[in-house]
């Protein structure tokens, strides 16, 4: 894999995460101070709020984008740390395969969950 491309995407993913995860953290953990996107309940993780956000297309799309960016950024970072410990070529190839398969699987699952939650919330 060409490290030039991977590193550039790692940085771009980081910038995407900065915006979207910053928003997520503000909604979830600065709710008393800032208070946004929690229309139905004082608690951010109450079902009413979760369903309200799931109904909004913006959140479905942004959660999927955040999921992809964070999985890529995190797994590439983890790969870097392990590779820099000076492991052999065989182990590097094996780790690449495991991380790609694991990352794609988790992305598929998480993206399905975001879409399914949106579909479910719209029926309520």
């Amino acid at each position: 894999m060409r490290d030039q491309r991977l590193w550039t995407w790692h940085v771009l993913a980081g910038l995407i995460i900065l915006v979207l995860l910053g928003l997520h953290m503000t909604i979830m953990h600065l709710d008393v101070l800032v208070g946004i996107f929690n229309p139905r309940d004082p608690h951010p993780i109450a079902w009413a709020n979760v369903a309200a956000r799931a109904r909004m297309g913006f959140f479905t799309v942004s959660y999927i984008v955040l999921l992809g960016a964070a999985l890529f950024h995190g797994l590439y970072g983890f790969r870097n740390i392990v590779f820099e410990l000076g492991i052999g070529r065989g182990l590097k190839t094996a780790l690449n395969v495991v991380l790609v398969l694991g990352g794609v699987s988790l992305f598929a699952f998480g993206a399905w969950a975001a879409w399914a939650a949106g579909t479910l919330a719209r029926t309520l």
Binding site: L18, L21, H29, W47, A51, G74, G77, A113, A117
Partner: protein
């Protein structure tokens, strides 16, 4: 010509902590890695825990019930702190590693003022930002809730 391999002498993982001039940036680098690993571990579990919302209100309530309670609140706050540091330091790294906050090449005149000195005010400012975020989060987590 030298034929034999010499005696190994790499610092190994201790080199991630020492071996140079013990600058602030080396510790920010190590902390960035530690917080990154912590966030990754949390995130992988978070995907699984929050996917319960796809199965309706009862599944969601059951999933949330599994992760509430004293230790989980402290753990979540630590995740928030890790995010605050990793994001703030990440902003610094984007600016520095794309060559914007490190100053232009200059003729070196002793005592040398390197790019590390040039970006030091940014590093300290970023730490202040991270600290403020941690304070705001702590207020929200423990006092206002």
């Amino acid at each position: 010509m030298l034929d034999n391999k010499g005696h190994p002498n790499r610092l190994g993982i201790w080199g991630w902590l020492g071996g140079g001039r013990w600058g602030l940036e080396r510790y920010l680098y190590t902390l960035h890695r530690l917080t990154g690993l912590g966030l990754l571990l949390y995130f992988l579990l978070h995907i699984l825990v929050t996917s319960a919302r796809a199965f309706g209100e009862q599944a969601w309530a059951a999933s949330m019930a599994r992760v509430t309670g004293g230790l989980f609140v402290i753990g979540e706050f630590l995740v928030f702190c890790a995010f605050a540091f990793h994001a703030a330091n990440g902003v610094r790294l984007v600016l520095v590693e794309l060559g914007w906050a490190i100053g232009n090449p200059i003729e070196p005149v002793y005592p040398y003022r390197t790019s590390v000195h040039e970006q030091r005010p940014l590093a300290l400012g970023i730490m202040v930002v991270a600290g403020l975020l941690v304070l705001a989060g702590g207020l929200d987590f423990f006092i206002l809730h």
